[in-house]
Symmetry: C2
Subunit: 430 residues, 2 copies
């Protein structure tokens, strides 16, 4: 790795392009997701991903796209196409484009052979192809597969070949991006620092409105803070990033910015550490040693499923009742039939009765009930699709019942209903 040692004469890597190789990535069902991880790791080193490409197992196109990328970017990463079959062209195409001879690296052959032998198998002759490397390339050990990664210096530029499966690619790239790794040592002194802040209970435009004056101010600051807003049903995420060669100062600036944002957005902010709303609610319940139960009608189990997705949730989730059918509301939640007849199943009195029945049946401290019309059928003029009633009771507080009207289709209504219920619990436990 002598060639990649820090050296005053070698300019730092600033820009990168990624090329994902594999015909399966051009079809109707699979996307190249490795590029998200790559953007993250390179970003931490201050190396900006400027373009991505996906190309099939096709020699001429791969050659052209690689040569053009290398003409534009300091670093080109290729993922996939390192398998043992004739279809796997990445090694050959890169070697040819850089006019490097392909030679067998006996160390790699031995490593692949040992890998097969550990499983009591002989190495198929085919796998020798995976030990062919462009002369001068550095092999990057792959703990989770047979194909090693490869690092090649092309003048001031760097080319990295990585296997396609994420569990093979990620550890190899992480090692390269450590401060002492081949890419870490070639990065400039600038890093991209980031913080984030997630809100719920406000629309994207409300969040924009509340924060616009801050953004304008930050864009003009030196160094400027970049903001990205991502909206998903029931959640708006704000990501701030800053390019700087002074870590402590960058972190201070970003913490200040985050505090200003948090002030502007108030208690709609539920996390500044990237946690999900079910995680945040779980932590509050744990802190306060409370248990939770839910009675779900239109969400059909989604709320409990999201809560129990969190590892360790058995410490605070007691369970609940999915009362999709009105008979279940009556027999398992003791909702009086005449209450349903009088007000309808989607009504505040019924939601309140669901909480009451749930508490009596489960003895949980925090009880949540959701009843609504997720659609596409079932809406009326008075109660259109998207109407959802949520009742929440936490110890020491009066029962809270609210009627919402959520936009969107069935999936969005269900998701927003659970998000809103979780947010009520979070606020009531504040």
């Amino acid at each position: 790795m002598a060639g990649v040692k820090p050296d005053g004469a070698v300019p730092p890597l600033r820009t990168a392009e990624v090329i994902a190789v594999g015909s399966e990535l051009l079809g109707t069902s699979r996307l190249d997701t490795n590029s998200l991880f790559i953007a993250q790791k390179l970003g931490e080193l201050g190396i900006e991903l400027r373009a991505k490409a996906v190309v099939g197992d096709e020699r001429r196109r791969l050659h052209e796209i690689f040569v053009h990328a290398l003409g534009r970017a300091d670093l080109v990463l290729l993922t996939g196409g390192l398998g043992p079959t004739d279809d796997d062209l990445t090694r050959e195409v890169v070697a040819a484009a850089l006019s490097l001879e392909l030679i067998e690296d006996e160390t790699i052959t031995a490593r692949i052979r040992a890998r097969f032998e550990r499983r009591g198998m002989r190495m198929p002759d085919l796998n020798r192809r995976q030990a062919m490397v462009p002369r001068g390339a550095v092999a990057l050990p792959n703990a989770n597969g047979t194909a090693p990664g490869l690092l090649i210096l092309a003048g001031d530029r760097v080319v990295v070949l990585l296997p396609g499966p994420p569990r093979e690619l990620q550890p190899i790239l992480s090692a390269l991006c450590e401060e002492t790794g081949a890419l870490g040592r070639r990065a400039g002194r600038e890093r991209i620092h980031t913080v984030s802040l997630f809100t719920t209970g406000r629309s994207e435009s409300h969040v924009e409105e509340a924060t616009q004056p801050l953004y304008s101010q930050w864009r003009e600051a030196s160094p400027p803070i970049e903001t990205t807003i991502l909206a998903t049903p029931g959640q708006v995420e704000i990501h701030l990033s800053l390019r700087s060669d002074d870590g402590p100062s960058a972190r201070r600036i970003l913490e200040d910015a985050r505090a200003q944002l948090a002030d502007a957005l108030g208690d709609s902010v539920f996390t500044t550490s990237g946690r999900t709303l079910p995680q945040v609610v779980g932590e509050r319940l744990l802190e306060r040693k409370l248990t939770l139960a839910a009675a779900e009608s239109c969400t059909g189990g989604l709320l409990l499923q999201r809560l129990t997705d969190v590892a360790g949730s058995s410490a605070y989730v007691r369970g609940g009742i999915v009362a999709y059918d009105n008979r279940v509301k009556e027999t398992l939640l003791d909702v009086p039939p005449d209450l349903i007849a009088r007000h309808g199943a989607v009504s505040e009195p019924v939601a309140a009765a669901m909480v009451e029945g749930l508490r009596a049946r489960t003895g949980a401290d925090v009880c949540v009930a959701i009843t609504g019309i997720a659609g596409p059928g079932g809406g009326t003029e008075a109660k259109p699709v998207g109407t959802v009633v949520i009742a929440v009771e936490v110890p020491g507080r009066a029962l809270e019942v609210r009627t919402h009207l959520f936009p969107g289709g069935r999936e969005m209504v269900r998701l927003q209903a659970t998000q809103s219920a979780l947010d009520r619990v979070r606020r009531l436990l504040d």
Copy 2:
């Protein structure tokens, strides 16, 4: 649209490349998903997607990548970058690369202005940019946004510019790809025909083993049938496709192939029409006029959530009990405490008792119980993480109780447990 009429002298479009424009697609959280839809629509016309690129709002890179793509492919589609701001470069870069002047199309301006006026707003001057089109381009009306798509003929080649938001892009592209649309009329006589077949209860390698002889035979046939296998937790999908200019014959060949596959795979095939397992189970319940209830421990509501994701599921899902805590198993499902003490909560006797209690409480025809260890904690040597007991009872059949050991982490174990439970219901209702 005179220029795109069928014409003996114009060769059909065979290959395409896609370029997605927008810096937000180069970060750590968003992927270009439009290309999946594009691959699908073009595939139906026999036009093969050969490469994709993503590039930021950066003039030089976009210019280069566009020019190179146009040098290789018959059709280049660009998505995004058609907004009204300075960042939106697609129109300008394409016009410059093709040496076409940008002129304002008054019809488009009028349409955008009318769109604003319908909402009681004045059109901001900025939006005039969206009416600028390369001379000779055909505007493609956008029912869901301000920016029209554009179609440009560049010699024998075709360039299409589409807005980035899927709900704007999809209708425009669909119209272009109709037999009478500008792309439909330029497609060759060959189409790509497809069928699919989804299985559950068999691993990917078992499916491969059972079907390998068929694949080899089909690969050598004329025209060859291409097969793609996609494995997700608890499900293996087989997609067959065939390129042919004779529709009826292609469909016959594919139907034959699908029948052979179905024979080889037996009752692990749950759909040949792309439906999900919860949909298939729902249809069987509806046909037989049966209701279903579930008692879930480790899956925490996921089974009921997946069943009720299906619109119209209220016709057969009665509801159920999420008995995450053992007390809930005792109080709401009447599982005898000493049964849990003797055998443990994850045991066949407890799963059987959960079904019994569930039936008594809900009166549902089909009752399903799931109890297991999803991890990461809670495993023992005798019952490691991934141990899941599933009990199913359907009318006229004896109660069926089975113990499984599912691989993978918490999420995979939970997903496979629900998939397996749904599959048991499907088979017992056969």
